[in-house]
């Protein structure tokens, strides 16, 4: 075995806060070899980004100087280097790319300038040489029309392109190690597949090591060699990929797998990890996971487990795997009986709740002195849907395809330009602003970001009560108070929560409050606008369980807007796939998942990273990005990216082809 290129030994980083030191990274050790991809996996707040920043010595001001341990880069300890010496390491030997490509590039410099800056600093290239090298790099990261792109500014590029530019900048110094901090989290699945593929290709060519930080098990299974799972500031399990996916050993890793939604778990509750990550402002005596562990026994509470390697290259920090534990402490417990209560699955014949016909939302673009209308953003361009009582329709698509706008237009939160929304025997688009207020209670929405969807200056009780007051639910304030408490209990929060403010709750808890708020007015239908995409997997599982349970209990109808296919598989009854303002394919969840017909649906499904390493699907790479909805392509909107494009695709938009009772598609392949 070769010597490790980067070797982190017992790294500790802490902050000074008013409540004493917070140990954000608490004794992390790992090795990365050349040409290897190493993943740090964990939920938000477990210290993975902090570990990367400690390696780079890019710590926030509160943590500067509070680092101990060793970070050996080919035998040299980076922690002892001065800031000046460190600058030669950064960019040159270790480079980093960040999660948010939108904010990592300077908006007032052209991308060429930004790449050349790195070339000047680390490679001493100037003028013609630098220009040529920059073009070479843009080519390497797969940017088309590189000469033109060279002179463009970041706002002229799409998110995926920006991330490619970031990678080009990182590569400019020809680093030996690339730290990628959630490089694809902000991107769509199809773009994510492109970027991951690019990283792998670059690694093959240059023998570069990659430290990948992610929370996505799917990404890990796709491209890494070694995995380390982080929890509460330290590594709880470390293994080669195959070992990890075949046999996750730490209860936390097991839970992560179990809480992923997929089609096999349909109709069952998802496993959840109860509780939350413990505060890192304390000294731990017991195992850090003990409060949330199904296997915990007395020893777990008495002693912190040590690192134990039970097979070559596979270790964990858990008493369960420690075979050298004194016998009296090895009381192997049985896991708490998992209540995998099957959820109600037979629904009877579908009854229509709402019919949407040719819904159109165009936003005018004003230009010039007199603000004349210059064109339209065709956000939603003729969407027809049918929602059934007590069922879930998933609206799927990449960001920017108009799915959120469609959801809001359906509720008349955005005035539709044309089309019909029939709810029961009411035509919603025809109602006046006043008249629609009486129907508001029946149609509710849950937003993506639980942080911005509640007024930070109102108490939780008031937030939930607001809708009731507006819809005149509950006769007296006493009656409403009782209802608020009942609702809080229903979504799994203590009734005392009503006297607290939103900022005192975690993301998952906030999303529960948002659900309670929507339920307060007894809605018939809820538009769920990516309600779990801002949450960690284990919390996502809690919210999905809650939504599913409520649907069974109250017979709610959901329009579930999402880009997450595994959630769709788990939750939806019907699926509609949207591309550039139009629905290209719709059908029952089985139709779409098992038998996708439209080339876009096929590509979308293939791009979703899966954790089943055995059944590797061939990823259908989509060329380029989503076109602009201001100027959609002629004919079929998808034809510029479609592998099966035919001449007639450029001419006309295909009509809906009914394949079966539930399944229809708009593509010329099926006539």
């Amino acid at each position: 075995m070769t010597e490790p290129f980067l070797s982190v030994r017992n790294l500790k980083t802490w902050f000074n806060s008013s409540r004493g030191p917070v140990h954000a990274v608490d004794g992390v050790s790992f090795d990365i070899r050349k040409g290897e991809t190493f993943a740090l996996l964990g939920e938000s707040g477990c210290g993975k980004s902090m570990t990367a920043l400690s390696v780079m010595q890019l710590l926030p001001s509160q943590a500067v100087g509070n680092v101990s341990g060793e970070v050996l880069l080919e035998g040299q300890d980076l922690l002892t280097l001065s800031e000046v010496a460190m600058r030669d390491v950064r960019g040159n030997r270790i480079a980093m790319i960040f999660q948010e490509p939108m904010t990592s590039l300077n908006p007032v410099l052209t991308i060429g300038d930004q790449i050349e800056e790195v070339l000047r600093r680390h490679r001493g290239l100037r003028g013609e040489q630098a220009y040529n090298k920059a073009l070479e790099l843009l080519d390497a990261v797969g940017i088309p029309e590189r000469k033109q792109r060279y002179g463009e500014y970041p706002h002229q590029l799409s998110g995926g392109m920006k991330q490619r530019v970031m990678i080009a900048m990182a590569l400019a110094g020809e680093p030996d190690l690339l730290i990628a901090d959630e490089p694809t989290t902000a991107l769509d699945v199809t773009i994510q597949a492109q970027i991951l593929e690019l990283l792998q290709a670059l690694q093959r060519d240059s023998d570069m090591a990659i430290l990948l930080i992610t929370h996505d098990l799917g990404v890990v299974s796709g491209m890494v060699d070694h995995v380390a799972v982080m929890y509460a500031g330290y590594i709880v399990e470390k293994a080669a990929r195959q070992q990890f996916f075949d046999n996750p050993s730490h209860p936390y890793s097991k839970k992560l797998f179990a809480s992923l939604p997929n089609i096999k778990k349909r109709g069952h509750k998802l496993a959840v990890i109860e509780g939350s990550v413990p505060s890192l402002a304390q000294t731990f005596r017991a195992c850090r996971f003990v409060e949330r562990c199904d296997y915990a026994w007395q020893t777990c509470r008495d002693r912190e487990p040590r690192w134990f390697e039970f097979e070559r290259g596979h270790g964990a920090r858990c008493h369960l795997v420690d075979t050298e534990l004194p016998p009296h402490e090895r009381v192997r417990p049985v896991a708490k009986a998992e209540t995998s209560s099957a959820l109600k699955s037979d629904l009877g014949a579908p009854r229509t709740l709402m019919t949407v016909e040719d819904l159109v939302v165009h936003f005018p673009i004003h230009k010039g002195l007199f603000k004349r209308i210059h064109g339209y953003v065709r956000a939603v361009d003729g969407v027809s849907l049918e929602l059934f009582r007590g069922r879930t329709v998933a609206l799927v698509g990449e960001s920017g395809c108009g799915k959120t706008t469609a959801g809001k237009a359906l509720l008349q939160l955005i005035q539709p330009t044309a089309g019909k929304v029939r709810y029961g025997d009411v035509e919603l688009t025809q109602l006046s602003r006043q008249a629609i207020k009486s129907h508001r209670g029946e149609l509710q929405i849950i937003f993506q970001d639980p942080y911005s969807s509640m007024n930070p200056r109102m108490m939780v009780g008031d937030i939930i009560e607001e809708g009731m007051a507006a819809q005149k639910v509950g006769a007296s304030s006493e009656e409403r108070r009782q209802r608020v408490e009942a609702l809080l209990r229903q979504v799994g929060l203590p009734p005392e929560s009503r006297y607290r403010y939103p900022h005192e709750f975690s993301g998952g808890q906030r999303q529960r409050i948002c659900i309670a708020r929507a339920l307060a007015v007894s809605p018939k239908m809820i538009v769920c606008d990516e309600p779990t995409s801002a949450l960690d997997v284990s919390v996502q599982a809690q919210i999905l369980n809650l939504l599913k349970g409520l649907q069974d209990q109250l017979g709610l109808t959901y329009l579930f807007i999402t880009h997450n296919m595994s959630v769709v598989e788990y939750l939806a009854h019907n699926v509609a796939v949207m591309y550039l303002g139009r629905i290209v394919e719709q059908g029952s969840v089985r139709d779409i998942m098992e038998n996708p017909k439209h080339p876009y649906t096929q590509a979308l499904l293939s791009a979703v990273p899966t954790i089943e390493t055995s059944s590797r699907r061939e990823i259908i790479q989509l060329e380029g990005d989503l076109p602009s909805p201001i100027n959609p392509p002629q004919g079929c909107h998808f034809h510029p990216r479609c592998a099966h494009a035919m001449p007639e695709c450029r001419e006309n938009y295909p009509l809906a082809k009914i394949l079966s009772q539930t399944h229809q598609v708009r593509c010329f392949l099926y006539k």
Partner: protein
């Protein structure tokens, strides 16, 4: 002694403002999320030191805002009680010795002689042109040239000792009250304060307060014997004038805001929230208004008022009433010219807020527009209003000085730093120059504006979400 309360317009508004601030404080102290940023302010050392100084200014200003007219001594018994034409304030009453000890004309700080030569008649009948002795300043000295220095030092020492004693009493009282609230011993509390271990920087506050107390006691001790900051052209004590100017400065700084706030918040929020023609109209108004040069508008308004006051003398009982009317008018016109900036800020913030999801959630519940503005928008732009108010304060105090210099400031009969500086225009031009008036105005104004700025920095740090550390 009989007297009659006089409530000037600005007095009423000042006390209304005090009421509003008190009400707001009570409201804030009951709401945890509103209290949190203030707690952050309370932990800032600089902010709390500045607050102590501001509080001292405020006390003087408020004492100077309770006005009355003393009864004149009646000659006959049947006659009705008649009141003096002079309107005094509680502060005047306290500072009577300063107010009444008027010299003939200029005299330097700590001087015992006038600053201008006069023909002095000696008891033997001979006359000589020389600097005559002051009537009050250093009048107790027999040989001013010899005794003055020793007397000043002795009085200062006595003053400092007294000041320190009062300070010690204040420390004990604070420690006692804190100990009672925290249910610990006085001794430990004193120790913790001395080491700066308390959450609120009591040690900084107490040191600032100590300095202020010592200075005040010193000024009283010396001021009763000398003119600490000299006298002006008509022989009035400059220290007294500078202290009287505090009220003018505070009134301009605060009442202007009170007048402008309703305009700025209501119009700003409406413009941002309703879009469409409401937005167009409001934008049109403030763009037009902010295109008119401010000084021009103020000068025109003040001149119009002046003419009005002069042609309607029967409407104003006393000179103080006239001066007060002018002050109020100045506040109003300053308010009208200065709301546009805040209005623009609030419009922008509201535009941003109305796209936020909790506003959309409220729309999805069918909440009415008025409730949406009151419950969702207004509380969430309040921090901007607060920051703007404290930042504007010092600017307005300075603006008063500039306006007085241009000649459109407060009434010349009213004490203000602007008028003092305006008068200094001639004083500095004469030979030998009179420097103490302008210096006094400078020191008092500088201290107020500096502490206001430091305090507003602390407030901004606490309230501005972009500056807030995690």
């Amino acid at each position: 002694m009989e007297f009659k309360f006089v409530i000037l317009w600005t007095d009423a508004l000042v006390f209304l403002l005090v009421g509003i601030v008190t009400g707001f404080t009570v409201y804030v102290s009951r709401k945890e999320h509103l209290r949190a940023p203030w707690r952050h302010v309370a932990r800032s050392r600089m902010g709390m030191a500045a607050l102590v100084i501001l509080a001292a200014y405020l006390v003087v200003g408020l004492l100077d805002s309770v006005h009355y007219r003393p009864a004149l001594e009646t000659s006959g018994e049947q006659e009705k009680v008649r009141y003096s034409a002079e309107v005094l304030s509680v502060f005047d009453l306290i500072a009577t010795p300063f107010r009444e000890r008027q010299e003939k004309t200029y005299s330097a700080p700590f001087a015992t002689h006038l600053y201008a030569k006069e023909t002095i008649e000696f008891p033997d009948g001979s006359t000589r042109r020389d600097f005559p002795r002051l009537e009050y300043g250093g009048a107790h000295l027999d040989d001013p040239h010899q005794d003055r220095f020793a007397d000043i030092v002795l009085t200062s020492v006595a003053g400092i000792v007294q000041g320190v004693v009062i300070w010690a009493a204040l420390i004990t009282l604070t420690a006692y009250l804190l100990a009672r609230r925290q249910k610990s011993e006085v001794k430990t509390v004193v120790k913790r304060i001395a080491k700066g271990e308390t959450d609120i920087p009591w040690h900084v506050m107490l040191v600032t307060a100590g300095l202020l107390i010592v200075l005040t006691v010193l000024a009283i001790n010396l001021g009763l014997k000398y003119h600490l900051l000299g006298t002006d052209k008509v022989g009035q004590d400059v220290l007294y004038q500078a202290l009287k100017s505090i009220r003018t400065g505070l009134v301009i700084g605060t009442l202007t805001t009170l007048i402008m706030l309703p305009f700025a918040t209501i119009l700003g929020i409406m413009a941002g929230f309703f879009h469409g023609w409401v937005d167009d109209v409001i934008q049109y108004i403030y763009t037009t208004l902010s295109s008119i040069p401010g000084v021009l508008l103020i000068a025109a308004a003040v001149l119009v008022l002046q003419v009005y006051v002069e042609t309607h003398p029967e409407m104003f009982d006393t000179i103080a009433h006239r001066a007060d009317m002018r002050l109020l008018f100045l506040c109003i016109i300053l308010g009208i010219t200065s709301w546009t900036g805040l209005c623009r800020l609030l419009r922008g913030e509201t535009l941003k807020l109305r796209e936020v999801e909790y506003i959309q959630a409220a729309t999805a519940f069918g909440v009415s527009n008025a409730k949406m503005l009151g419950r969702h928008i207004l509380p969430n732009v309040m921090h901007i209003v607060l920051i703007a108010v404290v930042l504007d304060f010092s600017g307005l105090v300075l603006a008063e000085a500039v306006l007085a210099y241009v000649g459109v400031g407060v009434d010349p009969s009213m004490n203000s730093w602007g008028n003092m500086i305006n008068a200094a225009r001639l004083e500095i031009a004469r030979e030998p120059i009179v420097w103490w008036s302008v210096t006094a105005a400078f020191i008092f104004m500088f201290t107020l504006v500096l502490s206001a700025n430091l305090f507003s920095d602390a407030v901004r740090d606490a309230f501005d979400p972009r500056l807030r550390q995690q």
